[in-house]
Amino acid sequence: MVGEELVQLLTPEGERVSHPEYESSLSGEEILSFYRDMVIVRRICNEATSLQRQGQLALWAPVQGQEAAQIGAGRALAPSDFTFPSYREHGIAWTRGVPPADMLRVFRATSTGGWDPQKYRHNVPTVVLGNQALHAVGYAMGVQRDGAEEAVMTFFGDGASSQGDVLESFVWAASFNAPVVYILQNNQWAISEPSSLQAKIPLYHRAHGFGFPGIRVDGNDVLAMYEVTRRALESARVGGGPTLIEAYTYRMGAHTTSDDPTRYRIDAEVEMWKHRDPVERTKRLLTREYKVKKAAFETIGEEAEAVALQLRADVLAMDAPDPISMFDYAYAAEHPLIEEGRREMIELGISGGPA
């Protein structure tokens, strides 16, 4: 896996390696805070998985294994940047300040969005594979028209990379030199399909054919993810155009809690990737190089527990909305069929009326 074409600054063993073009600009403190984010995101993910098992969520899409890809990319964002996620970007949501409970609303099936995308400058999840890539380019065209120094980031998987929308967005991003950074999380699988079905050569090459840079990064190396993303964002903000970053990583868990990965992949593969764990390698670096003490790690662990506890409480308190709320935002303006629906629901006693 490691080769000339993969940007890596930190080995699975937690050792630094140098790269001709990138070097880490992060202080020990910053790395620790990245580590903290990763631990918390993993804890959120585990809590969500257990909430799902307990019947409190309809579904969950675990992010485990991809924490470095997301925290590295997410921490490189400026507050004024804007992000268009797919459905597994819990780590990105965390870096954008989305409350963990809000991330779970879609999965508790009480909402199709979950948070105020304008407040966090992070759009709600897009489930139809690839749709969001075009939104990102369009938004970026708006940034250009506003003369703003902002970048836009969007996310998709190795599977979604085959969708026409993603590929058309490459055409457009190149044509309009749009300030977009694509984070392609190649987690090796699209449900049961290996990434080799979507591409016979490394996915980051796609960008070159459209005329913009594509880079493969060790997606389990939070230092490399951060540096490569930061540079791409900076370039985008000042008119350098789009970049495709392929975060080479692994989905440690199931596709979703509905999935059974034993049907299509072997344990040995998962085992191999355990050795490349993004959280562990960062911890090793912190321990050895920055002499971070056990106590500090424990504090972070406790913090993560607290987040999980709060999350659980928040989720359990999350009731199904009043059915009549389905009419609230179908249209911005008045609509006779909405009036008719509301009326019928009240007449049938399904709802007492609008809140």
């Binding site: 105020d116 749709n131 075009l134 026409g164 609230d328 609509h335």
Partner: protein, 328 residues
């Protein structure tokens, strides 16, 4: 009142211009809409006057045209998209159905999808395949969208402006075969609200409902019927989703007989909707079942025989005869 005569194409052009002057966040995007002014010249001269940043020639990808317009809407822009011909809207269908129609809901109203998708639709211009379709039912069936259609230059001028100002996404259907017909345009006052139907001709025996290019067919059929002693009222639906059923009900209460004239195939069409809904609302008034004069259930034929596919005055008269003769 300032009033002037112009073609529908020109009226649309002027309407777009006014909307762009009024609101800097209005953009136009589509294939060949810049220097060429669009294949129908609806955007003629607008890129020259408003610049390439506001009148955007798009790479040839309809899903991207609509998808980027969604992103622009998130950024606060209002994009008027031109789809070159009806039959080329389908590559954008996913973005329209999954995103344009739903993002307002999904964000609890944070984002309004104030975008207008202009669709030159219906046949009658002797074109090759995919240039003569009537896809309005697909969009009307889709919750989250609105669909309107103009049939006169005056409506074209005002409805395009009203659509751009409206906060919900609108599929704006333009009857391409009428682009070059002239009519009076009142530059000061809109004829009515965007979501209102209009009675184009008063009558007492039968109600004809049509939209876009078929309004004219209905009017001509009404004239022909007159000579046979049948008084037909003609309603231009104007808003196709939601329908403005009020004037239709009022008319049916008077006439008791209904014929819908549309170019799309009949099955699960807007005609089906009108007949179904009015059969409910006017059950006691209806003296004959509502009839639909539609395109046949075949792919749009080669245009040398399109006149046999599209509703003709004869076919409408035949339907009028049938509803008139029903009680005998």
């Amino acid at each position: 009142m300032t009033s002037t005569t112009m073609t529908m194409a020109r009226a649309l052009n002027e309407g777009l211009r006014r909307a762009m002057e009024r609101d800097k966040r209005v953009l136009l995007m589509g294939e060949d809409i810049g220097k060429l002014g669009g294949v129908f010249r609806i955007t003629d001269g607008l890129q020259k006057d408003f610049g390439e940043d506001r009148v955007i020639d798009a790479p040839l990808a309809e899903s991207a045209i609509v998808g980027t317009a969604v992103g622009l809407a998130v950024r606060g822009y209002r994009t008027v998209v031109e789809i070159q011909f009806d039959g080329f809207v389908y590559p954008a269908f996913d973005q329209i159905v999954s995103q344009v129609a739903k993002l307002h809901t999904r964000t609890d109203g944070v984002y309004t999808m104030g975008l207008v998708i202009r669709l030159p639709f219906q046949g009658g211009i002797g074109a090759i395949e995919h240039h003569s379709e009537s896809p309005e039912a697909y969009f009307a069936h889709t919750a989250g969208l609105r669909v309107v259609s103009c049939s006169t230059p005056n409506d074209a001028y005002w409805m395009i402006q009203q659509s751009i100002e409206h906060d919900d996404p609108i599929i704006f259907c333009e009857p391409k075969s009428r682009y070059w017909e002239k009519g009076e345009v009142d530059l000061d006052n809109p004829p009515r609200g965007l979501f209102e139907a209009e009675v184009r001709r008063a009558g007492t025996d039968v109600t004809l409902i049509a939209w876009g290019s078929q309004v004219k067919t209905a009017l001509r059929a009404a004239e022909a019927a007159e000579t046979e002693g049948v008084s037909a009222e003609v309603i231009d639906a104007r808003t196709l989703a939601p329908f403005d059923f009020g004037p239709m009900v009022a008319s049916l209460e008077k006439t008791g007989r209904l014929v819908v004239v549309q170019e799309s195939p009949k099955t699960a069409s807007l005609g089906s909707e009108i007949v179904a809904e009015l059969s409910e609302r006017c059950f006691y008034s209806l003296r004959a079942p509502g009839m639909r004069v539609s395109g046949y259930h075949v792919p749009y034929p080669p245009s040398r025989i399109e006149d046999a596919y599209r509703p003709s005055v004869d076919r409408v008269l035949d339907a009028i005869d049938r509803v008139m003769g029903f009680e005998s």
